[in-house]
Point group: C2
Chain length 329, copies 2
């Protein structure tokens, strides 16, 4: 592969001048500029990225940390981010923590090693104390998940409100025995969602038996599993609020297999408004999260922070969340 020196040699000019042509600097004679461009063309020269990174202290690369790319929620989020990154001339490194704290920390090391210019945390396994030390090496922002203690920019949805309106909807439909399937309490997002859920219950004097609480369930199989456990209960809930459309879909799917009618015998509310929510029969009543908007805004903010090194004072954007009613309730 040709280097800048070879281009210089071929044209009889110095590497400095070639560099100026590459970077569109002024003060290069037009005839020489043309000669350089032609030589670059002939040699198939492309500037070496590693050298530029080293000299310029800039990688034009951004890492996004998610917990599971096969979750449509994340793939839509990443899709939106990739678009903006591309437009702005950045590469995207995909880091999947698979819900593992250590893997998340290992990915954050990319910032220390200056392998990326910034990191977007779309999933958050560690708490602020563990993340904070990394923030002095470059911009780190949260998108989707968050930690209330965190002193970093955040783009997220009002999860508590989401949990509240979903539950309120079930209560208005006449349900009093409502189960809940969410994520782990150590995750702020799921904790807030649950808080909203409990708030709605409390407002109507309802309570939640320990047994109707299903923490840490994520995929379709988990949903099936949950249904079986509910079905085996003596005192069954008549509705369930699931922490994701995949779990909701699994519950509905398994309910059908056991000839348990949805929503008559068991109403189901999901979360995210993923494509399957509209495909499955009955359609899933769910809380719509604006994933495209979140991804877009997060990437725009990241690029902005990288370009204007001014320490963006800790900024927070909370996006709207809304109920989409279908046939599962």
């Amino acid at each position: 592969m040709a280097t800048i020196k070879e281009v210089a040699a071929k044209t009889g000019l110095s590497p400095t001048t070639v560099s100026r042509v590459i970077n569109n600097h002024p003060y290069v004679d037009d005839s020489k500029r043309k000669k350089v461009l032609q030589a670059m063309q002939e040699l198939g020269y492309v500037p070496n990225s590693s050298a530029r990174r080293l000299r310029g202290q800039k990688t034009n690369t951004i890492a996004v940390i998610i917990s599971r790319i096969v979750n449509p929620f994340f793939s839509h989020l990443v899709d939106a981010m990739e678009r903006i990154a591309g437009e702005k001339g950045y590469q995207l490194i995909l880091c999947d923590s698979r819900l593992n704290k250590d893997r998340e920390l290992a990915h954050l090391e990319l910032l220390k090693a200056k392998q990326v210019d910034g990191i977007i945390l779309a999933s958050l396994q560690n708490d602020w104390e563990a993340i904070e030390p990394f923030t002095k090496y470059g911009p780190v922002i949260c998108c989707n998940e968050y930690d209330i203690k965190a002193q970093m920019p955040v783009i997220r949805c009002d999860q508590q409100y989401g949990g509240y309106i979903g539950t309120k909807h079930l209560i208005e439909k006449g349900h009093t025995k409502i189960a809940y399937a969410g994520g782990a309490d150590r995750i702020q997002l799921t904790l807030d969602r649950k808080t909203g859920f409990l708030k709605a219950l409390k407002e109507h004097g309802l309570t939640l038996p320990e047994e109707w609480m299903f923490p840490s369930f994520y995929g379709i199989e988990d949903g099936k599993n949950i249904f079986q456990r509910i079905y085996a209960m003596e005192d069954r809930p008549t509705a369930i609020f699931a922490g994701g459309d995949e779990v909701a879909a699994g519950i509905i799917q398994e309910a059908k297999r056991f000839h348990c009618r949805v929503p008559d015998e068991l109403a189901v509310v999901g979360f995210d408004n993923q494509p399957i929510a509209d495909l499955i029969d009955p359609g899933i009543t769910t809380i719509e999260q604006p994933m495209k908007l979140m991804g877009t805004r997060a990437m725009e903010m990241m690029v902005d922070m990288i370009k204007n090194k001014k320490k963006v004072t800790y900024k927070k954007e909370i996006l709207p969340l809304q109920l989409v009613v279908r046939q599962s309730t």
Copy 2:
């Protein structure tokens, strides 16, 4: 951020020795090794990735080019790749061509600029003539899509066989009026699939009216669109072979809306065996593609090619494909 020089200064040793400690080279006195490790710890030193890349002519980064990350087929493929890459110490750059030739070429430039050690093409928009010039800058392999003329390693499925068994299945179910929804003919994968489809038709003396042919349709909305067009026909097909489960799901969904019974009035075969194939009602009969296996094998091969620079002689792996029968046929 601390540099190797600072670590050297702090310990009173040379950068050379520090480097040896970092890279676990032999011939470093144990007491000095300890001193260096401690100094690195205290300074929070992490070797600068750009400098290592430049000096070592190695990026430990691999790019994967896909056409649409929100397609579950690709997200599963990428998921498998990311796992293996992580295990082997590589980062993954996600490049979405969005079916655009130029964007694909732009992403291939990463190899020229030595911004990645290799590229996995999971989607292929350009033909071999356009790709070939890049192969001299580093390993490029195809995974999933392919071009028969291509002289590069390929991990793929036998698409023609897939098209054949899916169609054969419909014929065995008694259908003689079978429509086809695939991708563009310029894509070898979809062309082969169609060839298999046509082969099965021909073996049974069946023909395909131009009108029953739907090229270039990909998502759920496209599926709905296709159903409407079929429904409006005077002479309707009784079955359709769709090029993906999303399209199949869209067709089924819309059929239900129009009270057209599946499979009685319209049988549907999909492709991929994505999670939705099993979720939707009726379940989609589909051709299962081993996405995990394909992604895994492709990444393993890529890492192998990077490590053993020996020009791997053009290698081909064709993975099995099988019919999964559900209720849509």
